[in-house]
């Protein structure tokens, strides 16, 4: 397997080179472009680490959505950048920080080299208990059964995150439409893409959720793809983002966590513990939670990228500029 080691070495060198560029680049925009490429390389690294589920999440979130977020922010912040660069700490301080960070990295590297062998693992325990859930994908099994509280809290914490983003709007803008995604102004390439790509994307997203029970995939990966398609449609100006006061949209935002909590609470009666599933119905219940969570996570991810509500006149001005 020496040729595999060659590939791994090439990957590691590329990842480190890009990380160096992200850290050292002078302009934030160039660093953000580097981060898009970096996310893509990490996807390949995750495949090399035999973690296809994680690779899918990284592909959808890490390089797709995060790239959109960071590039948009870098473009908005570019006018203020030159002043920042003057505030860099002095050379001596930078060298000191560099030495300390290198020491930390060396410590972590030592930990990696001294990891116990054979490695402690819960893989066998997961494999032993997986049949009880009716699932075939051990990662989904861990997310939905063994560490269900973790997943529940995560799906809940996304909602306060969105509230945090919304609360950054001005008072006049409250109740309006999110304003980060500037509708596209001219040309037909982007609207064409936004018409052709989403059917495929929605198909792939739903497939990921559905197949996630038994094969790599799952709600987070599927939701990230669905959210990406929604954002594409909004960026192309084909659909406006929903108003933040929209009742139906707010309901969709919380339906997943509500579903999760409801089924979890029912587990106290039916299976004797919070978030426990009665064995006969484990798989249908888990699928129900997955579908609810997919809807909510899609809505949250899309609206996180769409940003806080903007004043209405500004939005209309941008729409007019488009035509």
């Amino acid at each position: 397997m020496t040729s595999a080691l060659v590939v791994d070495t090439a990957l590691v060198l590329l990842v480190l080179g890009l990380a160096l560029w992200i850290t050292a680049a002078r302009a934030a925009y160039g660093a953000a472009v580097g981060f898009v490429a970096y996310g893509l390389l990490l996807t390949i690294v995750w495949v090399r680490l035999a973690a296809v589920d994680v690779a899918m999440t990284e592909a959808a979130l890490g390089s797709g959505l995060t790239g959109l977020l960071l590039l948009g922010a870098a473009a908005r912040l570019a006018p203020y950048e030159a002043a920042e660069y003057q505030r860099r700490p002095g050379l001596g301080l930078r060298v000191l920080v560099g030495v300390l960070c290198a020491a930390l990295a060396a410590g972590l590297a030592a930990v990696v080299l001294l990891l116990p062998d054979p490695a402690p693992s819960q893989a066998l325990a997961v494999a032993a208990h997986l049949p009880a859930t009716g699932l075939g994908n051990p990662v989904t099994g861990v997310l939905m059964a063994y560490r269900a509280v973790d997943t529940l809290l995560e799906s809940v914490v996304l909602v306060p995150a969105l509230i945090g983003v919304w609360s950054l709007s001005t008072e006049m803008a409250w109740g309006g439409r999110p304003g980060f995604l500037t509708p596209w102004r001219s040309g037909s390439a982007l609207p064409l893409l936004a018409r052709v790509l989403p059917p495929f994307g929605i198909l792939v997203g739903i497939h990921l959720v559905w197949a996630g029970a038994d094969d790599p995939g799952g709600k987070f990966q599927g939701a990230a793809v669905l959210a990406a398609m929604w954002i594409l449609v909004m960026v192309a100006g084909l659909r406006e983002p929903p108003r933040v006061s929209d009742r139906l949209m707010r309901f969709l935002l919380v339906i997943g966590p509500l579903c999760f909590i409801g089924i979890g609470a029912a587990g106290i009666r039916l299976a004797g513990a919070f978030l426990a599933y009665p064995e006969a119905y484990a798989k249908p219940l888990i699928l129900a939670i997955e579908v609810g969570l997919t809807i909510s996570v899609t809505a949250v991810l899309g609206l996180l990228l769409a940003g806080p509500p903007a004043p209405e006149p500004q939005y209309q001005r941008q729409s007019r500029r488009r035509s």
Partner: protein
């Protein structure tokens, strides 16, 4: 055959890595985006080669995701470029003409 496929993956990764010099040199942000885009396609190719060579299942689905979202970086680039008073777009346009326009700051 496995060794050949892995070698091809390493070769493609290496070439697109050379293309990353464009990220370093720029000069415009559009050129950096081009390099990221080339890395995207090359990364998908390397991923497929790796997946088939090592027999990891579902790799083509990861490639599908990457291909599906490959355009997003450039979409962010063009929408963002129109936003900040066309600073980065003008920067790249100046490069296209071979003119040396000074930085706005």
């Amino acid at each position: 055959m496995t060794a050949f496929l892995l070698g091809a993956a390493a070769f493609i990764l290496g070439t697109v890595a050379l293309g990353l010099v464009r990220i370093l040199r720029g000069p415009g942000n559009a050129d950096r985006m081009l390099a990221a885009q080339l890395l995207g396609t090359g990364g998908v190719a390397a991923l497929l080669l790796l997946g088939v060579a090592t027999g990891v299942g579902a790799v083509s689905e990861v490639g599908l995701l990457l291909a599906l979202l490959a355009a997003f970086g450039s979409v962010a680039f063009v929408t963002g470029a129109g936003r900040s008073s066309d600073a980065s777009a003008a920067d790249s346009a100046a490069d296209t003409q071979g003119a040396t326009r000074s930085e706005p700051e």
